[in-house]
Symmetry: C2
Subunit: 210 residues, 2 copies
Amino acid sequence: MIKLLIYEDNPLLREGLTMLIDGSEGFQVLGSFKNCSNVVHEVGSFKPDVILMDIDMPVVNGIEGLKLVRQHNTEVSILMLTVFDDNKNIFEALQNGANGYILKKTPPAKLLEYIQEAATGGAPMTASVASQVLKMFAQINIPSDNDYNLSEREKQVLQLLVKGYSYKLIAAEMFIAIDTVRSHIKKVYEKLHVNSKSEAVAKAFKDRIV
Amino acid sequence: MIKLLIYEDNPLLREGLTMLIDGSEGFQVLGSFKNCSNVVHEVGSFKPDVILMDIDMPVVNGIEGLKLVRQHNTEVSILMLTVFDDNKNIFEALQNGANGYILKKTPPAKLLEYIQEAATGGAPMTASVASQVLKMFAQINIPSDNDYNLSEREKQVLQLLVKGYSYKLIAAEMFIAIDTVRSHIKKVYEKLHVNSKSEAVAKAFKDRIV
DNA sequence: AAAAAATTCACCCATTTATGTGATTTTTAA
DNA sequence: TTAAAAATCACATAAATGGGTGAATTTTTT
C-alpha cells in the first residue's frame, strides 16, 4: 500500500487526483492540500511514502515546498507535477532533491505507474523532461584529464596560488626559499601557457586542476 | 519505420536483438556489429535513427564508440545497453551525449518501447539509472545567488580580471583611465573581502560571479 | 649508465599590483 | 530634493610579480 500526500492548488484537479489515486488498488491518499504552508508538519505527522507536489502554486510554490520538506526529510519520494517542462524549474527541482518530474498531461494509468516507480526508488520522468535532463548533463563540462604534466611540487604551488597565497607565504608553507617558489611558478606558467597568477588561478578552476 | 544499428560483442545476444527488433512492426535493423572499430564509417553510410550500443565490448568499448560517433554526428540517438548500472559508466555516457541508458535485463516489449522513445527525442532510462542520474544532479552544488552587491562597472572589471587582463588592458577595454580601474578594483576587493587579484578571481569562480 | 626531468637556490630589474588620500560629476535611492 | 552610491580621474609609494640567466643536487626515466 503506497501512502500519498497531494499538494495542488486547483480544487478540481486536487479532488480529481485524490479520487483517482485513492480509488486505485494499492494506493491510499492520506491527505490533499491547496498549499504548502503547513507542509513540514503534515509530512511529519502523516509520514507518506510519496508526495505529489504541484509546482505552480500561490504563496508557497512547489519548489519552495520541496525545499522545506527536504530540510527535515530526505526519505520521502517527492514527485513534481507541472504543466510546463521549462528548463529552469526542472533544474531547480532536481537540484533540491526531487525524485521525479512529470507533466500534468500524463494519462491516469501512466500516473499510477509513475507513483509506483517513485515509491520503489525510481525516478519517473516524462520523456521530454528526461531528455532535457540529459542535455543539461552533457553541458556540464567534464574535467579535462590533462593535468598539464605538472609535477607534484608544481601542483602544490598552484594550489596555494589558488588559495590566494603570496610567494612569501608559499615559501613559508612549503619550507623552501622564495626563489624556489618563483622557479616553480615559472614552470607552472610555461606548462599552463599563461603569464600571470590570476590566469593560472582561472585555468586551475576551469580545468579542475584544483 | 525506425532504422537501427546494433553494436554488441556477444554473438547470441546480437542475433537475438537483431531478430527481435527487425521482426517487429515499424523497426528495421540495418546492421549489427561485434565491435566499434568501424563505427564512424558505418553510421555515416547507414544513417540510422537509433544506435543500440553495448558498453562492455572488447577493443573499443561502447563509451569510446559513443565518443567516436558524437565527434561527427550529434543527430543520431544513441541508446547505451549494459548489464551493470554502475555510476561511473552512466556519468561518462551521459556526459558524452548518450540519449538513454538501459539495462540488458529489460524485457523485449519494454525495449521496443524504449527504442521508440529514443527515436522520438526522448531519453529512455531504466528506473535505477534515472534515480542515479537525479542523485548526481542533486550533488552538483548550486551557484550561490549572492553577487556581493557589485555594481555593473565593478562586475565588468572583475570579469576582465578573470580573463587575465592587466589594469592597463582593462582601462583600454573599458575606455577609462587606469586609475579608475584601480578605484573599481579597490571597491571590488572590499566587497569580496579579498586583497589580491588571484583571490578575487578564485572567489569569482567559486561563487559563480562570472 | 646516461639522459631527462624535477627540485632547490640566487641575483637582477622592469612592470604590475595594492593601498592611501584625495576630488569631481552622474546616477540612484530615500 | 537631499543624501548616498557609483563612476570618473590623479598622485604617490611600498610590495609583489614576471621574466631573464645560471647553477647544483636529487629523482625518474630510458
